[in-house]
Subunit: 289 residues, 2 copies
């Protein structure tokens, strides 16, 4: 199967799981907002869960609740990041953000409940024994809490009012939390489900996550809102340090390509079985949205 | 030990566990806000966890991470409920709320990270085998998500703009989610940790949770802000239906007392071993804050 076809197939699987989880109480606005927020997107994180699982001989059906958990967690973070008190964005995936379509209270609550749903999904017995599921709970909590994603977002907000732009080590640390930690967890999930050493996948995903963020910064300069699906040019406008402002456009592209090579090398122990994950690494720096 | 002494001892235990969990990254404002938000309070939920555990022969040390998890979850819900877009409260436990002392972005993030911390705390091996800990994760997720606490809060916000005040069954359903679900989970936790039937504790806590909320509505009418620690009289001011507006002050007191008797009766199978939990039920309708 080609990479785009596999990405689409995995996305369809995870969407069905999320839809099933959100079938109840469809008359409540907060649940409607949750359903809205888990539509669309590239589903890169779900892909990483499902393909790292497959790499360890685990069928998609036995990993899909973990993939859905990661996407629910990601969707919660996007809803809250878009709030007026945070990044104040009106557009996400080409559609009005949750607080624009509903209101701020519904957006806060829908995000809160999507985080809860993520942990609830990890209790699904289809994911295997209790030890394995608990390893996923612990891993997701560490990736998304005050030492992971929330820390990154807090550093990002602090940077907006900092007297001097961030340095390269500072912005690398920020992004390792803000986007890197959840991408890392997604790729490690297959090893956690199989009970094997997640080190090669962690090395792969650390490089992948950084390449992903550099590509995001490049898109913010080179992309247009219609294809990217969200407002662009806002980093330069805000005078924020980005990988592009620190490395230059060409330097950023060279660094991203080097990181993709690093990600590929980390998967060498798996041989050709890891080709889908290698395709994903190449995809993150070639994408237009 | 007297009930107030036991409540204070359990509160000290859970505070130490929360402090230990939040020792890292103390220089980050969002972590400072998290530490601030988990100070004080009655710690009724922690007490229910620790005493329901003791009732099943489980020492406090083997249950304290679950008690800390429940208090972290409760603290997150208070931070978010106090936000300007929600209940817009400036005062909580006699101190400025998190968004007043810091800002809205920090309040959203601190709440988010406290929810995550709750699930991370439930992974503590001191709580027992993976099956038991996973039962706690699932139970906490169901109590706090879009079918529990978040649903209750969403119904509460919807009620503020509803054309007619809520009826008694509607407000009972709202409160069963908003405050009842987490109180229920707290009391059931001891049975989940012991792997026994949580039905008697659930019946106890269902009555207790409702009595607690009726007492809250009575305090909103009879209390003063200094001893209650938060703004009072706001329900009547907002024209919101409460148990007092629906049952009258005397009717509300009679109903609360009947619920406490119901809570006591539910614990009959445990005999005198359940005296601490029975004291807690009497406490919730006699408290001044």
């Amino acid at each position: 199967m080609s990479f785009p076809a596999l990405l689409a197939a995995d996305a369809a699987l995870v969407q069905a799981r999320l839809d099933a989880a959100l079938r109840a109480r469809a008359e409540v606005p907060v649940v409607q907002a949750m359903r809205y927020a888990v539509q669309g997107g590239k589903r890169l994180r779900a892909f990483l869960v499902l393909e790292s699982a497959r790499l360890h001989g685990i069928a998609p059906e036995a990993a899909v609740s973990a993939a859905a958990a990661v996407e629910a967690l990601h969707a919660y973070s996007l809803i809250h990041d878009d709030l007026p008190c945070m990044d104040d964005d009106d557009l996400r995936r080409g559609l009005p953000t949750v607080h624009v379509k509903w209101d701020e209270a519904t957006a806060v609550l829908a995000g809160d409940a999507l985080q809860t749903l993520a942990f609830e999904l990890l209790c699904d017995p289809a994911l295997g024994g209790a030890e394995r599921r608990l390893a996923l709970v612990g891993g997701l909590a560490r990736a998304s809490g005050a030492e992971g994603m929330v820390l990154g977002q807090a550093l990002d907000i602090a940077a907006e009012t900092a007297p001097v732009p961030l340095t390269l080590p500072e912005i690398t640390r920020l992004q390792a939390g803000k986007t890197g930690a959840l991408i890392c967890f997604s790729a490690e999930a297959g090893a956690l489900l199989a009970g094997t050493d997640p080190a090669p996948l962690r090395a792969y995903a650390t490089a992948l996550g950084l390449a992903f963020q550099i590509a995001d910064d490049i898109l913010d300069v080179e992309g247009d809102a219609a294809s990217v699906g969200k407002r662009v040019g806002k980093d330069a406008e805000a005078g924020k340090a980005t990988f592009v402002s620190l490395l230059g456009l060409e330097g950023a592209k060279i660094r991203a390509a080097a990181l993709v090579a690093e990600a590929e090398a980390a998967l060498a122990p798996y041989g050709t079985a890891a080709s889908a994950l290698i395709d994903a690494a190449r995809f993150v720096i070639s994408r237009q949205s």
